[in-house]
């Protein structure tokens, strides 16, 4: 390992460490999963322990898009636009089975998984997922953020 690669790999780690503990989420809440999202955010489960305690309600200030709840075909263009408005680096979490696969809404109105519209980094299944699963998904996302090659 040369000096240069040592330097960049350590820099990657440092930035990854910083990024994984400063997640600014954009909660795209459309349905009942939102209650579980709120439970995760409140003091009992306290998502702030993971550095993800400050939701930004503008996609331009956020770097993790939490898609929480059923996405209908009519909502799909809105979600895509929100995603496009977020600045790099950005990640997407599919929260609940509806966002993962459409869930039991196998019908004319529902998008069968948001990964048909935008790329997804972490899937949290459940109807709705318990806060423990949400935190587990969040930690998986943190691992992914820390491990990836950082672009800046």
């Amino acid at each position: 390992m040369g000096v240069g690669s040592f330097f960049t790999s350590k820099l990657d780690e440092a930035i990854g460490w910083a990024r994984k503990y400063s997640i600014f989420q954009y909660p795209f809440v459309t349905a009942c999963c939102g209650m579980e999202y709120m439970a995760t955010a409140c003091s009992h489960y306290d998502v702030d322990r993971f550095g993800a305690g400050l939701p930004r309600f503008s996609p331009r200030q956020a770097d993790v898009l939490f898609v929480v709840g059923t996405i209908s075909h009519k909502m799909a263009p809105v979600l895509k636009r929100i995603y496009d408005q977020m600045t790099e680096p950005k990640w997407v979490v599919a929260f609940g089975v509806c966002t993962c696969t459409g869930g039991f809404y196998d019908n004319y109105a529902t998008v069968q998984g948001i990964d048909t519209i935008i790329p997804v980094d972490v899937y949290i299944p459940g109807c709705p997922p318990r806060p423990e699963s949400v935190l587990d998904g969040l930690m998986k996302l943190q691992d992914k953020i820390a491990a990836q090659t950082q672009r800046f």
């Binding site: 075909h73 009519k74 895509k80 196998d106 004319y108 109105a109 998008v111 048909t116």
Partner: protein
């Protein structure tokens, strides 16, 4: 006015245009000839003893595979009327076939019919003659078909729509 009196009042005025009437547990229903529908609705609204000043709901039903109704007219368009001054209700229905699924629009009588008729058009594909703006209400323009029809495949996938450029 009781349900029987409402039906009698309609029968006196329209006679054979009332194809069928029934009452069940306080629900009063009359099936009306399609040609006379608008006249019946207007009479219901304007006749002081009836005074149906509110269109509570306007919807439809698809009887495609309904036992006993397989070869009858496919759709029923349903009008639920309520009278604020008299506190009574009536349900009016009219039957239409699939290849001639057109009903006169009630927008001139109750403005709320505008969106309700758009919803029926969107979900069942029943058109309303004289409607000022008969576009889909719930689904998007690219949507193909009418999802609440009984022969709409439950797992049909529609094209995804992107954000406007």
């Amino acid at each position: 006015m009781s349900g029987a009196e409402i039906l009698q009042c309609l029968r006196d005025r329209f006679g054979p245009a009332l194809l069928e009437t029934h009452q069940d547990r306080g629900d009063t229903t009359a099936v009306v000839e399609r040609r006379e529908l608008l006249d019946v609705l207007r009479f219901c609204r304007d006749e002081p003893t009836l005074g149906f000043d509110m269109l509570m709901d306007l919807t439809a039903a698809d009887y495609l595979k309904y036992p006993g109704r397989e070869d009858g007219p496919r759709f029923e368009v349903v009008y639920l009327l309520y009278s604020l001054p008299h506190n009574h209700r009536v349900r009016l229905k009219t039957r239409v076939d699939e290849d001639d699924a057109v009903v006169a629009s009630a927008v001139e009588l109750w403005p709320i019919a505008n969106w309700l008729e758009r919803e029926v058009w969107d979900m069942f594909g029943v058109r309303f003659a004289g409607h000022p703006d008969l576009r889909r209400l719930l689904m998007y323009e690219e949507f193909v078909g009418h999802p609440l029809r009984k022969d709409y495949p439950i797992d049909r996938r529609q094209p995804l729509i992107g954000p406007p450029a």
